[in-house]
């Protein structure tokens, strides 16, 4: 039985501090937000297109960015051997993985929520509240929830794959191969770990590919489970 160690909340704050103090990661996350500004300012559409593009605009890019972030924050710990230092403080290790997953999910939630609110606001300003379904708040909340759940699942998947493979190159290569192969079969197209977020977020907001959403959540959960099982492996020098 493990002795007393830092709790997940403390570790989550630590992971947030690491992202904030690693300037490239912080800048990259800021860039994800800033890159949305030009299309918000200059994109001209009708009300239907604006509503139907809400999910993809606020979540699609973010989902893959957060997936990459999840891979990077774990893989860099191994690359620079700081994983060993983290595990010395928390020999149980699993709380570290849980904290990383929570933080990446929280980052995903924050960015996608900010973008969702921004795109929604732009739509309201251009096409009025009714054009963006504010008179049907259930639809707006559901759209936001789908975006957030998909983005968070993608982030957790990144943490899981990064923990299992312990290297950004290996993880990105593995996911790249998955992304290339998944569209080839009907059973994996928009159901696999890489294309499931695409199946949810690339569709119009008025449509929901439930199998893709379930797949995205399940892949995230499966990757996290694999990470929790695999994080106890030997830490190489």
């Amino acid at each position: 039985m493990s002795g007393q160690q830092a709790g997940v909340a403390t570790l989550a704050r630590t992971e947030l501090f690491k992202i904030a103090s690693s300037r490239r990661q912080a800048v990259a996350l800021l860039a994800v937000l800033v890159l949305h500004v030009p299309p918000m300012l200059w994109g001209g559409q009708d009300a239907d297109a604006s509503w139907n593009g809400l999910r993809s605009r606020s979540g699609l890019f973010v989902a893959y960015a957060v997936m990459a972030l999840g891979i990077l924050i774990v893989a860099q710990e191994y690359r620079y051997s700081t994983a060993a230092l983290a595990f010395l403080a928390v020999p149980g290790r699993r709380p570290v993985t849980v904290a990383q997953s929570l933080v990446v999910a929280a980052v995903g939630l924050t960015i996608s929520s900010v973008l969702f609110a921004a795109w929604l606001t732009v739509g309201v300003l251009r096409y009025g509240a009714a054009g963006m379904h504010l008179d049907r708040p259930g639809q707006v909340v559901a759209a936001w929830a789908v975006v957030v759940v998909t983005v968070c699942s993608a982030g957790v998947l990144g943490v899981g794959v990064g923990t299992i493979l312990r290297g950004s190159t290996a993880a990105l290569l593995a996911l790249g191969c998955c992304g290339a192969l998944e569209p080839l079969l009907d059973v994996t197209r928009f159901r696999g770990p890489v294309t499931a977020p695409l199946g949810v977020l690339a569709w119009p907001t008025s449509e929901l590919e439930m199998p893709s959403l379930v797949s995205a959540v399940c892949w995230g959960a499966l990757a996290l489970l694999g990470a929790l099982l695999g994080v106890g492996r030997d830490v190489p020098s």
Binding site: T14, F17, S21, S22, Q76, P91, V235
Partner: protein
Amino acid sequence: MHVDRLAKRYGSHHAVRDASFRVHAGTITGFLGPNGSGKTTTLRALLGLVRPTSGQAHVFGRRYRDLDHPARRVGAALGNASHPGRTARDHLLALARPLGVGRNRVEDVLATVGLDAAGDRVTGGFSLGMRGRLALATALLGDPELLVLDEPNSGLDPEGIHWLRSFLRGWAAQGRTALLSSHVLAEVAQTVDHVVIINQGRVVLDAPAAELGAAHGWVEVRSHDAARLAPLLAAEGLAPRRRGADGLALPGGAAELVGQVAARHGIALLELHTHSPDLEEVFFARTRPPTDDEPMHDEPMHDEPESVASARPLPAGTSGRGTGGRRQR
């Protein structure tokens, strides 16, 4: 700290084989061995980073992972681990949070290792010596009772090495404990109280540094009556080996007894002295692979294949210690 029959195998490669040793409280123990001998694997197994194939490694009587707040009791510096894009201060702050120590402690350890002026520099621009100091700062963060340092001299300049030696002496003077692996033998010799040597995954020596000379040295005797003296010494329980026509070699610590026996039987000694090897000689004697063409300088008087220092037990007051089946000269 107690390592008991520890073994670690990677596939068919045995990184550590049946290693056992102790690190006593209040001592600085040098953990020596050539590259690939199993030092780092042993330290990592001790710290719970590597799962042993068999055996166990305990710190303060428990597995590392079972200690409460282990990083506050055991400080470890395992290589130069830091994110190159993070400042030294942020690196330490990130590690301080899970330990529950505050910013003041971070400033303290930065000052202790002499990096206070470089605290806001990213570690990617640090020299090897600065990274070594940062690694030590990391180990000190939790104000631990025990330090485990893997090659702490690595990359340090002479001033840094001197500083580290002084630091470790001060550490020991506070009654604290340290285990440091190193291949810089001269530095270890000046720093440690106890020596553990590992080679090809096996612990081949575990002895107090102060006893190395006596335990691993040998006595050289020269006398025209060496042939008559040898059986007399053998009768006293020693194991003399012939060295040339008038020379004998005996285990370290036997000089007084040799003198007494020679005086008792009226044998004139031309030369009687104890050769005390330094740590470097012991290290290489223990870790150098045997060579087929190694010259044999002496002829055994008995069926004793070991080196002079590994002879059968000496009489009381002249203790000897084996050197593991190598001829030392």
